[in-house]
């Protein structure tokens, strides 16, 4: 229930408690109350929960975090995890409905990404 989704604020109307934003979620857009993010401006990415934006995403911090992780990636030695992942894909476990189980990385391996 604490699910919140990031989207891009594309338009703003109204003021104060009635300030409403049009938020685009990758092609689907919805009206969202901006009462809790008075600082939000058009072009910002906001985090939306049950019809209310509850945070403006800090783009600089997001970029810094991802850059730091990219550094970690570059420094990483070849890990035994890749082998373990390949082995678990080979074993192709089934879910309760008898279908092959979705394991993270499965599609990624097959698509060679």
């Amino acid at each position: 229930m604490c699910l919140a989704i990031p989207g891009c604020l594309v338009a703003i109307s109204g003021q104060g408690e009635l300030r409403i934003g049009r938020v685009d979620f990758g092609g689907v857009s919805r009206d969202t109350s901006l009462v809790f993010v008075p600082e939000a401006t058009v072009g910002d990415h906001v985090l939306v929960h049950v019809g209310f934006a509850i945070a403006v995403i800090d783009e600089d911090l997001a970029r810094e975090t991802l850059e730091a992780l990219a550094m970690l990636d570059a420094l990483a030695e070849p890990a035994p995890i890749a082998d373990a992942l390949a082995a678990s894909v080979d074993a192709a476990p089934r879910n309760n409905h008898g279908q092959p189980r979705r394991i993270f990385g499965r599609e990624d391996l097959e698509e060679g990404r």
Partner: protein, 370 residues
């Protein structure tokens, strides 16, 4: 989608996994508090990618799951009244009450409607002034500002046919109950990122100090979750116990001031009964005296209703992280999402539903408990 896809990058995920593997020396157990985190962990198979000596314990952060039976029974009693439109988030409709669920009430003819926002329920109240419109205000701190805003606007506009059945719960008191249990196996916590977006991290600093465990404010995507695990593991190996924020792109240390102002205006802190955990002091919100006219329990005279929890669902142990869902004797047998015995098999955030949907088999009890 931006701010989602970047956090599912396989190369970065493997790099963080390798770093966790190199950093973690002794076995450790971390609790991810939020049910949304539990679902992401199982959906992306992170539990199977992490080293075996790192165990994830699933926490109580599923509002649907911890809502006590008597609150569901109140909802059913209200929904069955004449001229009532009962509005709820979809998750609550299939949670079993003493006598059926809201979906069955709807099938019997009750006007039960799924809404995506409390403001949708308020809009129905405006459009249908002859109906008594009740919103089932369930949720943790993340949802409290939105639900508070509905009461605030209803009061300001004088929408007299609107009321809320409030069942709001708070995360830190529940964590305190789990950590203070004496035999707690929790070495560190992944704090619920979206709760912290609203409240800030002050309460978690007190918990980290008091129980001497690392607490990491953590998001919901695979990379967010693994970065949270890594930060907790780094603290454990260094012997530290503090709050580390790894969801800083949205969670500010002091939370969202505008949201908390509205919450404090509308709600008072109160004792709450939790399914599986019992009554926890100061662990929830109720409408303050100023907004009592919008309290559905008063409007429909249901304050005195008391119902004991059923015996056949051990959801309390699941919610405390003491029983892994596949180790439950009913998991996948008597209890499935189609025919749930308890709320954790229903909710999109329930641990049992996560294990069922993402294909974790039922295990012999002793093996799963290990």
């Amino acid at each position: 989608m931006r701010h989602l896809d970047e956090y599912r990058d396989p190369a970065a995920i493997h790099a963080v996994l390798a770093r966790i593997d190199r950093t973690l020396r002794a076995p450790a157990s971390l609790m991810e508090v939020c049910g949304g985190q539990t679902h992401a962990i199982l959906k992306f198979g992170l539990d199977e990618l992490l080293p075996e000596r790192l165990r994830l314990i699933h926490g109580p952060g599923c509002p649907v799951c911890v809502t006590p039976l008597e609150q569901i029974d109140r909802a059913l009693a209200i929904a069955d009244e004449d001229d009532v439109v009962f509005c709820s988030f979809g998750d609550m409709l299939r949670v079993p009450g003493s006598n059926g669920d809201l979906l069955l009430a709807k099938a019997r003819g009750a006007d039960v409607r799924i809404v995506l926002s409390p403001m949708d329920a308020l809009a129905i109240a405006r459009q249908e002034p002859d109906k008594r419109v009740v919103f089932f205000a369930v949720g943790f701190e993340t949802t409290a500002p939105a639900n508070a805003m509905a009461a605030l606007v209803a009061a300001r506009e004088g929408i007299g046919n609107f009321s809320m059945l409030v069942s709001h719960v708070l995360v830190p008191p529940a964590l305190e109950a789990l950590l203070g249990a004496g035999d707690s196996a929790i070495d560190g916590l992944l704090a619920p990122g979206h709760v912290c977006v609203v409240t800030g991290q002050r309460a978690y600093e007190d918990l980290a100090t008091c129980y001497r465990i690392p607490i990491v404010v953590t998001g919901f995507e695979p990379l967010d979750l693994l970065c949270g695990v890594l930060a907790a593991v780094e603290q454990l190996e260094r012997g530290e116990a503090r709050v580390d924020n790894r969801y800083g792109r949205v969670a500010q240390p002091n939370g969202n001031a505008a949201a908390m102002r509205v919450v404090r205006e509308v709600f008072d802190v109160c004792d709450r009964k939790w399914r599986g955990l019992g009554e926890i002091p100061a662990s929830g919100y109720r409408l303050s005296a100023k907004y009592a006219a919008f309290d559905a329990e008063r409007v429909f005279g249901l304050e005195g209703l008391r119902v004991d929890e059923p015996d056949d669902c051990p959801s309390g142990l699941v919610l405390q992280g003491r029983l892994r869902p596949p180790a439950c004797p009913h998991f996948g047998r008597r209890c499935t999402p189609e025919h749930p015995l308890g709320a954790p098999m229903v909710s999109a955030e329930g641990a049992c539903a996560a294990y069922f949907h993402y294909g974790r088999e039922a295990l012999p009890a002793e093996e799963a408990r290990a």
